[in-house]
């Protein structure tokens, strides 16, 4: 039977006499903590030293701006549809350009956003992606609603993210 091979939980009566004295065990513990004391620490001194996330990081969602200064978004509204906390609002309009539709208004309420990344996943145009920006603090509720002016980020600033999406999505 395999059950016999599993060692039973050690009880007080199973301790050997050296362990019962308790003193050597204390010395062992002291040795361990002394060793830990001299281990290198990996604390980051945050405001001075910042964490740089990798491409897969889900920071605040942003809209990708093409090199000609236009957004990629075609205002299909899928992101707004899939957004669990209803943080995204898109208002579409028509345009003469090839993509035919563009968002007149695109707002993300950062107080609502839960950084789930569904918008990024659902976007057919790779137009909305999660950036590496994690420093989000507001002093007013109005400040937390990001319009197109704050959301648009040039595509050449996002090589990590775009590369990640190309390779792993």
């Amino acid at each position: 039977m395999s059950e016999k091979n599993i060692p039973a939980k050690k009880r007080i009566k199973d301790l050997n006499s050296l362990e019962k004295v308790y003193f050597p065990e204390i010395l062992k513990a002291l040795k361990l903590t002394l060793k830990t004391m001299f281990r290198p620490k990996f604390t980051m001194q945050y405001p001075e030293e910042k964490f740089i996330p990798t491409g897969s990081y889900r920071g605040r969602p942003i809209l990708v701006m093409e090199n000609n200064g236009e957004e990629r978004c075609v205002a299909c509204g899928l992101c707004a549809r899939v957004c669990p906390p209803l943080a995204i609002e898109v208002q579409a309009a028509e345009t003469e350009k090839e993509k035919e539709r563009y968002p007149v208004r695109f707002e993300i309420n950062m107080l609502r956003c839960i950084f789930c990344g569904f918008c990024e996943e659902v976007c057919p145009e790779e137009a909305i992606v999660m950036s590496k920006d994690y420093e989000l603090a507001f002093t007013k509720r109005e400040d937390a609603i990001y319009g197109k002016d704050k959301l648009l980020v040039p595509v050449n600033q996002l090589p990590d993210k775009i590369g990640f999406l190309r390779n792993y999505r």
């Binding site: 003193f23 204390i26 513990a29 002394l34 281990r39 620490k41």
Partner: protein
């Protein structure tokens, strides 16, 4: 003008500069207590793979002063159910005990400046050890009063635990000291230090007594393996749950001052006090020897204080019944055994 000068000189030089010695020792104690808080936080951080306070001053060196200012500026709250007089008395008593105990502990041998023989101890009394034992047992009252007068069940439980714990461990502490006194044939701290010349430190001569005294000292100072009076997870904060502002700071300070006293006492009784073994055979000048001896004393105390903090962040708290059975069934018989051992040594070697 000259009269005032003479008067001042008389006051200052009274009893071999007693006042100056008191001021120096008090300032040293307060500074050490403040920096103990800092080092406690630092060492705990290192043990837990953290960095610790590093914002106030160089590497956080002024952190404890910032803490004191914060506590001073806080509101002093006395609960409605508290017995206000005793509630106020308790922290004062704790501080009083912590500060007065230090009076009999010698830092070094006598100093001779310009014809004045200055002993490096505030009061060289011949019942010094007894005085320390008496005052530390007075310290129980501070905690018990604090627990009882707060009008809170957690405080009361902490106070009761502390009185039971401290009284139990005082017995093994007293018996451990018995071994030391048997060897030195004196209760005078300086005589006890002088009796441990060379490598005849009591820690080596009577290791059992050293261990029982060390463990009892941990229990007496309410340090971690025995910090049941505070026991944050069970009793909120134990006896100082209902204290705030400077009264809390007084307890806090008293705890660290007690730690310092326990360390100096262990050094005096068991680790040869200021003595560095065989320093007189190196042929150094007397001034250098004195400086080395004081430095040696401070180093020993510092290492012990580090040990106190190190143990605190290593060993988990004892359960109340374990604490009691350890005190009565292990430490007490061991300290008795130590007395027998010392008596045996005296009988055989006629020390």
């Amino acid at each position: 003008m000259e009269a005032i000068g003479n008067l001042l000189w008389t006051i200052v030089s009274f009893y071999n500069f007693l006042l100056i010695r008191i001021v120096i020792v008090l300032v040293l104690m307060l500074l050490t207590a403040a920096y103990l808080v800092y080092f406690e936080r630092k060492i705990s951080a290192w043990i837990q793979d953290r960095i610790g306070p590093n914002r106030v001053g160089w590497k956080g060196a002024l952190q404890s002063f910032a803490d004191v200012f914060k506590l001073l500026l806080k509101e002093d709250i006395v609960p409605d159910n508290a017995n206000k007089r005793i509630h106020t008395l308790a922290p004062m008593l704790a501080l009083f005990v912590a500060f007065t105990t230090y009076a009999v502990i010698p830092i070094g041998p006598g100093l001779n400046i310009a014809g004045y023989e200055i002993p490096l101890v505030i009061a060289d009394v011949n019942i010094g050890v007894l005085y320390i034992l008496a005052l530390t047992s007075l310290g129980v009252y501070a905690i018990t009063f604090a627990g009882w007068s707060s009008g809170s069940k957690y405080s009361l439980l902490g106070g009761i635990r502390s009185s039971a714990q401290m009284i139990s461990y005082e017995i093994s502490m007293g018996f451990s000291i018995g071994g030391v006194v048997l060897l030195s044939e004196s209760l005078r701290p300086i005589a006890i230090v002088e009796s441990q010349s060379g490598w005849m430190w009591n820690a080596f001569v009577q290791p059992i007594g050293f261990i029982t005294f060390l463990v009892s000292a941990f229990a007496e100072t309410n340090r971690l393996p025995f910090d049941l009076p505070e026991a944050e997870p069970e009793l909120v904060g134990g006896y100082h749950t209902e204290y705030s502002s400077m009264k809390f700071a007084a307890f806090f300070l008293a705890e660290y001052a007690n730690m310092l006293i326990a360390s100096t006492l262990i050094v005096t009784l068991y680790l040869g006090g200021w003595q560095i073994p065989y320093i007189e055979t190196f042929g150094l000048s007397s001034g250098l020897v004195l400086a080395l001896q004081i430095a040696g004393f401070l180093l020993k105390v510092g290492l012990l204080l580090f040990f106190f903090i190190w143990v605190r962040w290593t060993i988990p708290r004892f359960r109340y019944d374990q604490l009691m059975s350890l005190g009565w069934k292990v430490m007490f018989p061991l300290s008795l055994l130590n007395i027998v051992w010392v008596a045996f040594l005296i009988m055989v070697f006629r020390i």
